[in-house]
Amino acid sequence: MARMKFLCDAERCIECNGCVTACKQENDIPWGVNRRRVVTINDGVPGERSISVACMHCSDAPCMAVCPVDCFYRSEEGVVLHDKDLCIGCGYCFYACPFGAPQFPQAGAFGVRGKMDKCTFCAGGPEPDNSEAEFKKYGRNRLAEGKLPACAEMCSTKALLGGDGDTIAEIYRQRATTRGKGSEVWGWSTAYGRPETPKAPVAAPGGKS
C-alpha cells in the first residue's frame, strides 16, 4: 500500500462544510479548533472554486523539520502524527505549515495557548489504539477500525477523496477523463443537452397544417 493522502476535487466541492462538521463530530474537537476547513477562491464571482483543506500529511513535512522538541513522527502509512505529551505549544509548526493545519486550543479569556492539535487522518496518536486516552487526546482512530477519515467518507459529492494515494489518484483520473473539461463539466450543455442536437419545433395548436 502506498501513502495515505487526501485529494479534493474543486469541480465537485459545493462548500457545504459537511467535512468540517464530520471531523468535529467524529473527533470531539473543542470550540475554536478546526482541523479541517473549506476555502473558497473568488467567492461570489462566476467560476468560484472551493476546496477542503486540512493537514496534507506531507512527504517532507515542514512541521516535523521545525519542531524544537521533535514530537512529530510519520506512520508506516505516511500519516504525519505527533505526541501531545511532548508538544510545548510553541507554534513553530503553525508558522512553518503552508496550509495552516496546526491548531491551538484557546483556554480562558486571555487565550492561553494549548498543545497543538491537527488532522490525524483519523489515525489517533501514540496511545494504545482505540483507547480512551487516545480518543481524548487525538480523536477517533478509524484507520485501526479499517475505515477511512470521516470527512472523506461523509462528503456528499465525493469531492474529498481520502485513502491510499495510488487508489484515489486512479479514481480522480477516471472521473476527470469521463467528465471532460471546460463547459462540458458544468453548465448549459450539461443541464439541457448539447446545442448541436436541438429539439424539433413543435407546431402551435390550432395552426394551419
Partner: protein, 73 residues
C-alpha cells in the same frame, strides 16, 4: 561477627543503590522522534496483526468513494 559484617555490607549496598539516580531530564536527539512509539493500525483488534486483511478492507473502503464502480457509469 561475620554475619553482622555480611548484613551491614548488604544493607550499605541496598542503601547506596538509591544514589544511582537516573537522569530525569530528557536527552534530545536532534531530528529524531522523541515521543512514545505508536503501533501500526492493524495490530489491535479487529485485525490482530493481519496486515493483508487490513489493506484489503481499506482498499474496498476506498473504492466506495468511486461512484463509477459503486453505481456504474
Amino acid at each position: 561477627m561475620r554475619l553482622m559484617g555480611i548484613v551491614s555490607g548488604a544493607m550499605a549496598a541496598v542503601m547506596l543503590a538509591g544514589c544511582g539516580e537516573r537522569p530525569q531530564v530528557m536527552e534530545y536527539k536532534q531530528g529524531k522522534y522523541q515521543g512514545k512509539p505508536d503501533e501500526a493500525p492493524y495490530m489491535a483488534a479487529p485485525f490482530n496483526g493481519n496486515k493483508d486483511l487490513w489493506e484489503r478492507d481499506i482498499r474496498n473502503r476506498t473504492q466506495n468513494q468511486n461512484e463509477y464502480r459503486r453505481i456504474g457509469t
